[in-house]
Amino acid sequence: MDLLEYQGKQLFARHGIPVPEGQPARTVDEAVAAAKEIGFPCAVKAQVKIGGRGKAGGIKIANNEDEAREHANAILGMDIKGFTVHELWIEGASQIEAEYYTSIVFDRGAKAPLFMLSTKGGMDIEEVAESDPKAIASLHVDPLIGFQDFHGRRLAFEAGVDADLVRPIGAFLHKLYATFVAEEATLVEVNPLIVTPERDVKALDAKVTLDDSALFRHPDNAQLRDPSAEDPQEQMAKERGLTYVKLDGDIGILGNGAGLVMSTLDVVAQFGGKPANFLYAGGGSKAEAITSAVEVILSNESVKAVLFNIFGGITRCDEVANGLVEAFNQINPQVPFVVRLDGTNDVEGRKILAEASLPNVHTASTMDEAAQKVVELAKGGSA
C-alpha cells in the first residue's frame, strides 16, 4: 500500500523523524483554516500517489489567506498524471539550504534492505543515478543485526555530506531504518531531505510503501487506505479479495495464480486477442470468490468474451465449477465463456459443468485451444 505524503510524514513523526508541522485538508475551507493556524508562508500540496507534483502545479506557496484559498481551489480536483487530487496537505514553508535524497528499498536480489543517500536531492534520483552514479552512496543492511551507527557514517561520508551534518544525518537515517522495520515498509523515500539555514535536517517529502501482507499487525496503518483514489472496479475486486488490473482489450480473463494469468494474457495476445483485464483469484479460490470474479469482469462493459483458465493445485476445479454455475444463476451473463479446467478435482469440475449445461459456455482441453476459442468468440465468431 502506497501512502500519501502526509500519511508518510505522520508515520515519520511517530518515530521521531523531524518533519514540518502541517495539517491535511479535504476542502478549500479546511485548507484555509489550516493555513491560518500554521501561519504564512505555507505550502499547499496536492496529495496524490505519483511523483512530479511540483512540475504539474500541485505544490504552491501561499503568503496570505487569499493565496491559500486560491491555491487550494486550484489544486483540489486537479488531475495529475491520471490521479485526481482529493486531498491537500498544508504545511509551514521551510527554508532550504541544501536538498539531500535518501531511501530504503527492499532489495530482492541481495535479500536485504538497500539504503541510499545522496546530496543531490530534490530531483529525480533515477536521473542522478544515470548522470552521476558516484553521487549516490548505498549499502545493504543485514536485517538480523540491523542498522548500526557505522552504516550512517559510511553513507554520510561516502555521499559527501558536510562534516557538521554527519552525526545528525546518521541519526536521521537510523530513525528512518527504525521506521522501515517497525512499520514493515517495503519502501521509504525522502526527497528532499532538507538542511535548513540553522543546520537542522528535516523530511520535506515522504514516500512510504507498506507491506499489505503485514497490515494485520498494524491496525492503524490498515485504516490509511485511500479508496477514493482507486479505480472503482479495482476497488470492488480488492474488497472481495481479488487482484484485478484493468486493461484496454475486450476479453475478460480469470485464472488461478499470477504466473498462469500472465501467461494466459501472452497466449491470448499471440492468437490476436486483447485482454480486458488481469484477474487473479488467489490460492484456494472458493465458489463465492468465483462469483465475485465474474461480477468484476462483467462490470467492464468492453468485455465481449470471457476466458476461465484454471489449473488447480490448491484451487479445486469442482469449487471453481460450482462458483461458475452459481455466478450464472445470479448474474446471467450475456457474453460467451470459454472454460479450461485442469488439475485438482478436474474430473469432478468438468462433470459439474457438463451437468449444468450453462448457456454459451464452451470448454477447452488446453490453454492454447482455450485462448484460440475466446479470441474467435470475442471477434463475434462461433467457437
Partner: protein
C-alpha cells in the same frame, strides 16, 4: 535420483489439522510420500488418518526422524513455524503459505542462510519428484517420471509448463516451485545447481516471470556453471508496465525486469526462451528428441 524430495523424504506437516493441511497432506501420502508426522500446538497426541500429531517440531523430529517439513499454517504463524522447523534440525522446509509479511521472510531467509536448513518457498506449490514423492499442492497425476527438471516462480504456471511437456511425452526428474515472493528461500540458481548435479536430469526448464532480477542472475550462473541444456519461459510479455500483477514477484518498474529484457539476457547467455508454454515444449523436443 531426483532433487530435494524422494523415497527417503520423511515429511512432517505443520498445520496438518487444518482443512487444507489435511487435504494436501493426505494427497501427498496417497501419492506415496512418507508423511510421518504433523505439528499442531495443543493437538499433540491426536492423529490425522493415522499420521501422529505433535505439539512441537522438536518432538516430531525426535519421535519420527522427520527430515523434511511442509508448512501449511496461516501467514501470521508461518515464519515462526519455519524457524521452529530449522531449530528442530529439519534439513528442508517447504513453505506453501501465501501472504507471509515481507519482513518476516527477510528475517527467516537471513537466519536460515547461516544454518544447514534449506527453505523452498514460501508461497510456492511445493516439490514433486514423479514416482517418488510429492510434497505440496502440485497435482501429481499430470506428471510422470522422466528426464526434465522444472523450476518455476509461479505455482499454476508450473503445472501448465509441466503439463504441456507431458503432452509432448516428457517426464520429469523433479518439479520445483520456488514461489514468487519478495524473498524466496531458494532461487533459480540454487535449484539449477541441484539439477546440474542430478544424473537423472537431462534438460532443465526454468519458468520465470516479470519483476526482480532472479532470471538475469540465473542466466549468468548458467553460462558459467551449467553443462546441461536449459530452456526458459518468461510470463508477462504483454503485461502493462507499472502495475502490480497479483503477487509481489510480478512488478514491472521501468525497463528493468520486463519479460523482453529477461529473455534477451537469457538468450545472450545461451539459454533458449520459449514465448509460450507450447513453444517451450517444442524447444525441449528439438533438444531431446520426441
Amino acid at each position: 535420483m531426483a532433487v530435494l524430495v524422494d523415497k527417503d523424504t520423511k515429511l512432517v506437516v505443520s498445520g496438518i489439522t487444518g482443512r487444507e493441511g489435511t487435504f494436501h497432506a493426505m494427497n501427498n501420502k496417497r501419492y506415496g510420500t512418507q508423511v510421518v508426522a504433523g505439528v499442531t500446538p495443543g493437538k499433540g497426541g491426536q492423529d490425522v488418518e493415522g499420521v501422529p500429531v505433535f505439539d512441537t517440531f522438536h518432538e516430531a523430529v525426535d519421535k519420527t526422524g522427520a527430515n523434511t517439513a511442509m508448512v501449511f499454517v496461516p501467514p501470521r504463524f508461518a515464519a515462526d513455524s519455519i524457524l521452529e522447523a530449522q531449530d528442530a534440525g529439519i534439513a528442508l522446509v517447504i513453505a506453501i503459505t501465501e501472504g507471509i509479511p515481507a519482513h518476516d521472510e527477510l528475517r527467516v531467509y537471513n537466519h536460515l542462510k547461516n544454518t544447514g536448513t534449506r527453505l523452498v518457498g514460501p508461497n510456492c506449490p511445493g516439490i514433486l519428484s514423479p514416482g517418488k514423492a510429492n510434497v505440496g499442492i502440485i497435482p501429481a497425476s499430470f506428471f510422470k517420471e522422466g528426464n526434465v527438471g522444472v523450476v518455476s516462480r509461479s505455482g499454476t504456471l508450473t503445472y501448465q509448463i509441466g503439463n504441456t511437456l507431458a503432452q509432448q511425452g516428457f517426464g520429469n526428474s523433479s518439479i520445483v516451485g520456488i514461489g514468487g515472493d519478495p524473498v524466496p528461500g531458494s532461487s533459480f540458481v540454487d535449484v539449477i545447481e541441484l539439477f546440474e548435479a542430478d544424473p537423472e536430469t537431462e534438460l532443465i526448464v526454468m519458468a520465470g516471470e516479470i519483476g526482480g532480477d532472479a532470471e538475469e542472475r540465473a542466466a549468468e550462473y548458467i553460462k558459467a556453471n551449467v553443462s546441461k541444456p536449459v530452456v526458459a519461459y518468461i510470463a508477462g510479455f504483454t503485461a502493462p508496465p507499472g502495475k502490480t500483477m497479483g503477487h509481489a514477484g510480478a512488478i514491472v518498474s521501468g525497463s528493468k525486469g520486463t519479460a523482453a529484457a529477461k529473455a534477451e539476457t537469457l538468450e545472450a547467455n545461451g539459454v533458449r526462451v520459449g514465448r509460450t508454454p507450447t513453444q517451450v515444449a517444442e524447444i525441449a523436443m528439438e533438444i531431446l528428441g520426441a
